[in-house]
Symmetry: C2
Subunit: 199 residues, 2 copies
Amino acid sequence: MTQVLDGRRVRGDATRRAILRRAVDEASLSGLDGLTIGGLASALGISKSNVATLFGSKLDLQLATIEAAREIFIDAVIVPGLAAPHGLPRLWAIVDAWLTYSESRTFAGGCFFRAVAADASAKDDAARELLVQIDVEWAEFLTRAVREAGLPDPEGLAFEITALLDAANLMSQLHRSPRGYAQARASIRARLDAVDNSR
Amino acid sequence: MTQVLDGRRVRGDATRRAILRRAVDEASLSGLDGLTIGGLASALGISKSNVATLFGSKLDLQLATIEAAREIFIDAVIVPGLAAPHGLPRLWAIVDAWLTYSESRTFAGGCFFRAVAADASAKDDAARELLVQIDVEWAEFLTRAVREAGLPDPEGLAFEITALLDAANLMSQLHRSPRGYAQARASIRARLDAVDNSR
DNA sequence: TTAATATACGAACGGTCGTACGTATTGTCG
DNA sequence: CGACAATACGTACGACCGTTCGTATATTAA
């Protein structure tokens, strides 16, 4: 019978976690193609073949990295959002959590999914499919929050909010200026107020 | 005295142009790091050392690629925008030209500058500086158009418009769906109408 | 105890990268 | 004509890439 605690797997999982923690930061800076097995190994002081063994292939490493980023994103944005009371407060809590998630550099290169989207979207592999699915889930989550806030055109409003969040993230990344965060906050706030008042 | 037409330079410039035409498409798909001297050479049926000689170094090739993309962008968006009459029509012409520029795949991977922004912004070289400058120029250009349309808060409105344009471009790239273009058009149109009516 | 499993390592594979060097060819200019 | 310049090519270099193989070690299972 398989033990609940397998000393070998415990050791391996610890190494895997250490690798992935580094991998998400690296990928948020250089994209999924910028991830290198040898680079991760030397950065962590372990052997290159160890990294290769633990993940099997480069593609599997990329997939595991995306999954790890998803969990971190959920903890940083989704959970705080769901902790807020229904309606407009929850919607604003999600927006605020997202901006804090980007600005506080939860990942070294800002939003992980925007950083890797450019490279990955030009390919046709499992990594791209996973990223598409995650983006769909995010859009549905935000759309539901907008709908539960009683606002009209939830899909359209969710599109606009995501656009502003991404723009703030991009400005902080390219121009290394926090100005976009204040601008996005103001724009979204004004947009929600305008729609809410005309209800 | 240097001839106006130097047969050697004419030949070299023709090769350079052929390389850059391919390079902007390649970079719009895979980023500036995805550009490879050998890849461009074999794609064009010329020798790798020829490409290296014509541009000197990889960084210089990247810079030349960015400059080439800038010229193409100016022809596709700025020129049509400036051809429209002042005020709101010009602003809308710019928005429309930008969406057409992205949707018609002027570059194979959609907007060149959004495609390369992620990778480049994590570095600290001349390529990043050039991309920052181009983005500043775009923001100033769009802000001026908003101001000349008599709308309030030109910087803020330009930020919002750019955010929606980028979101449409990203959606078409990641989800391979044209839905974002119609959504961006509707959102920007509604935003401009709302601001214009409350003048 | 013995066999099987999961990490870990070192070494090596073929491949591609950016770069540099020597050389040939073609065009320009004194 | 000769001297020089700009392309173009072939070759080679060291570095890194992802992957594979053999091996050692610790843990679990039979």
